[in-house]
Symmetry: C2
Subunit: 342 residues, 2 copies
C-alpha cells in the first residue's frame, strides 16, 4: 500500500510509493527518444490493452470496452494511490501518515491518435469536460475522498508519457492538497474582511486594466496572472462567480471548451507547440459534516491554470517557493492576444 506522509514542519503531504518502488538503476533510462508511436493502447480498437473502462461517453450505443466510444476513462496502470482499503490515519512519533487510498484514472480524450488537446474539435472538448464532471460526481460519493485533481501533462518535459495520445489524469485524494488549501485559506481571509470574492475582484480589475487580459469570451476570461511563476502562464476563470466546476451547465461547458481550445491553439501556434501542463482548481468536496470547507460557496472561485514548460526550474525555486519569471505577464498577454488562431 502506498503511504501519504505529512511533512511535520510545513504540513505538506507527499505520496510515497512503497510497492513497485524504483531501484536506483531504474532512473534516467528513458528520454524523449523512447517515445512510442505505435501500437498505441489508447486508440480505438485497442481497448483490451488498457484495464477495463470505468466510464465512457459513446456517441452511438456500443458494448463496454469495445470501439464506438468518444471519451474513455480507465484506471492508471501505474497508480500513485490505491482504490481499495481504509484510510487508517495514524502517528509515528512526531510524524503523521495515512494509507495511500485514492483513485488514479486516465481520461482518454479521443479515440483517434491525436497528441494535443488543441487539435480536438470544440464539441469534443466539451465532451471531455462532461467526462471530468461525471467522474468527479461519481468519486464524490466515496466518503474517503476530500478532493479530485484533474490535470494534464503534454509533452516530454511536462511529464507526458511515452505515448503521444491526448489524455488527462484524475487523482482523488483523502487529504486536501497544500496548494489548494492555501488558496482556500487566502480566499477566505479576503472574504472575511471585504465580504467579496478575491477572484471576482481580480477579474474586475483585469478587465478594467486590460494589460494582462488575453481573452474575454463566452463567459470566461483568460489572463496572464499578475505574479506569474512561469513565462506565458494563463489562467481561465468563469466571469460568473462559482466555486464548483461540476455546476457548469451545458452551454457553459461549450463556452469553456471554446475558450480552452483557443488558449491551447495560441500556445501551439505562438510558442512552437511547447510542452505544457494544466490543472483544475475547484472547491473540495463539501458534505454535510465536512466542517470548515462546507461553506466555500461565496469565497472560492474555480479556475484552470495552464503553464507552458519553457524554462528549467532550479534549486532556487524548489528550495524557496520563490519563482523567477523571465517574461513580464503584460508582455506575455500582449503576445498571446496577438497570436491569431481564427
Amino acid at each position: 500500500m502506498p503511504e501519504l506522509r505529512k511533512d511535520p514542519i510545513i504540513g505538506r503531504w507527499v505520496i510515497i510509493a512503497t510497492e513497485r518502488a524504483k531501484r536506483p538503476d531504474q532512473f534516467g533510462s528513458h528520454s524523449e527518444d523512447s517515445i512510442l508511436e505505435k501500437p498505441c493502447p489508447f486508440c480505438e480498437g485497442h481497448e483490451s490493452q488498457t484495464p477495463p473502462e470505468i466510464y465512457a461517453m459513446r456517441t452511438k450505443p456500443s458494448p463496454e470496452n469495445q470501439p464506438g466510444w468518444d471519451v474513455r476513462v480507465v484506471p492508471s496502470v501505474t497508480p500513485f494511490l490505491k482504490i481499495e482499503g481504509d484510510l487508517d490515519r495514524r502517528g509515528k512519533g512526531l510524524y503523521d501518515l495515512t494509507n495511500g487510498v485514492g483513485a488514479h484514472e486516465i481520461v482518454v480524450e479521443t479515440n483517434q491518435h491525436i497528441a494535443n488537446m488543441a487539435d480536438l474539435g470544440e464539441e469534443h472538448i466539451a465532451n471531455v469536460i462532461t467526462s471530468y464532471i461525471n467522474r468527479i460526481l461519481d468519486l464524490e460519493k466515496d466518503v474517503r475522498f476530500k478532493y479530485v485533481l484533474i490535470f494534464k501533462n503534454y509533452g516530454w518535459s511536462a511529464g507526458g508519457g511515452r505515448v503521444r495520445h491526448a489524455r488527462s489524469q484524475l487523482i482523488a485524494t483523502p487529504v486536501n492538497p497544500k496548494r489548494v488549501k492555501e488558496e482556500l485559506v487566502g480566499a477566505r481571509q479576503y472574504y472575511e474582511y471585504h465580504e467579496r470574492c478575491i477572484f471576482c475582484d481580480l477579474i474586475k480589475q483585469e478587465i478594467e486594466q486590460k494589460e494582462r487580459l488575453i481573452l474575454d469570451m463566452d463567459g470566461f476570461i483568460v489572463i496572464a496572472p499578475f505574479a506569474s511563476r512561469f513565462p506565458f502562464e494563463m489562467w481561465i476563470l468563469p466571469k460568473k462567480h462559482s466555486c464548483d466546476f461540476v455546476k457548469l451547465d451545458m452551454p457553459q461547458r461549450a463556452g469553456l471548451a471554446r475558450t480552452l481550445k483557443k488558449c491551447l491553439l495560441k500556445l501551439k501556434k505562438g510558442l512552437n507547440d511547447p510542452p505544457y501542463n494544466f490543472i483544475l482548481h475547484t472547491a473540495p468536496f463539501r458534505r454535510e459534516k465536512a466542517g470548515y470547507w462546507k461553506s466555500v460557496d461565496f469565497d472560492y472561485h474555480w479556475h484552470i491554470e495552464i503553464t507552458p514548460r519553457l524554462t528549467r526550474v532550479a534549486g532556487f525555486e524548489w528550495g524557496t517557493g520563490f519563482y523567477i519569471c523571465p517574461v513580464p505577464p503584460e508582455n506575455a498577454a500582449k503576445f498571446l492576444r496577438e497570436v491569431d488562431v481564427g
Copy 2:
C-alpha cells in the same frame, strides 16, 4: 528594474524580470549540447572575464582580480535582482509589488576547472563555507534585505549553466521567501505548544529509529526526510541546536565540509553522478526592530536540503504542492548508507 510581485491569493512572491525579458523565440534554444568547456570564465587566470570580484579568499597575498585566489565571489552577469535602488513597496489595485532590489552573486568554489563540489578537498569545501558565511555577514548590514539564500544547481537538468565549473549562488531578498516563512511558522507553532525545537525532536527520533539515517558524524546528521519529495533527497542538520548558519565556528565548518563532501560523493558514486540542487535554510536576518522573527533562536534550526534530480516533475506537483516520491525514504537511506566512499 525587475519587480517583486506577490500573488494576492496565496501570498507567494515572484521575481518578474522586466529588463532584458526574454522574447518568445528565445526559449528552448539551449540544450545540454550547448555546454561550453573552454575557455572557462571561472578558471584562474581568466579573472577579467567576470565582473570585478566582491570577495575572495586567498591562500597567499595577491592583488584583487588576479590569480592566487582559492574561492572567489563575483556578481552574476544576469542578475535576477538589482543591488541599486530603493524598495518602494506599493499597491496596484488589489496587487502588491516592490522594486526588485537585492543581490545576486556567484561563489566560484575553486580556481581549477572541476565541475562537482564532491571532488573538492575537505579543507577547500570548508573555505567555501567560510566564504558563504562572510558574504551573509556582509549582506546582513544592508537594511533593505531580509534573507540570503545560498544554493547550488549542479548539472543541466538541475538548472546548472553552460559552464561546468563548480560554483554556488547567493541571492539576498527584501522579502522572506514563502517556503522559508512556512518553516518558520510551522517550527514556531510546534515550539509554542511543546517548548521544544521540532528539528531537535526530529533528529532525536531519527537517531533512535535509524531507518532513515544516512550519516551521523562530526556533529551533523544526514537523513532521508520522512516526507521526502524527491527520491534520494537528503537533509543535513547540526545535532546541536542552532538557528543560524553563520554562527558555525571553525571546527564546525570543517565537520560540515566533511559531511557535505561525503553526501555528494555518495550521490556521485551511488547514482551515477546525477544532477542535484542543494539549498541552505537558515534563519532570516534579525535586527533590533525586525519584529516577529527576531526571536527564532529557540524554535528554528538551520539545515541544508540536497535534492538529486532523477525524476521529471509534472502538472500534479506544480498545481498542488503535492509530490509523489517513487522511492521510500527508508530504502533511499539504506542504499545511500551502503554506498562506500571511504
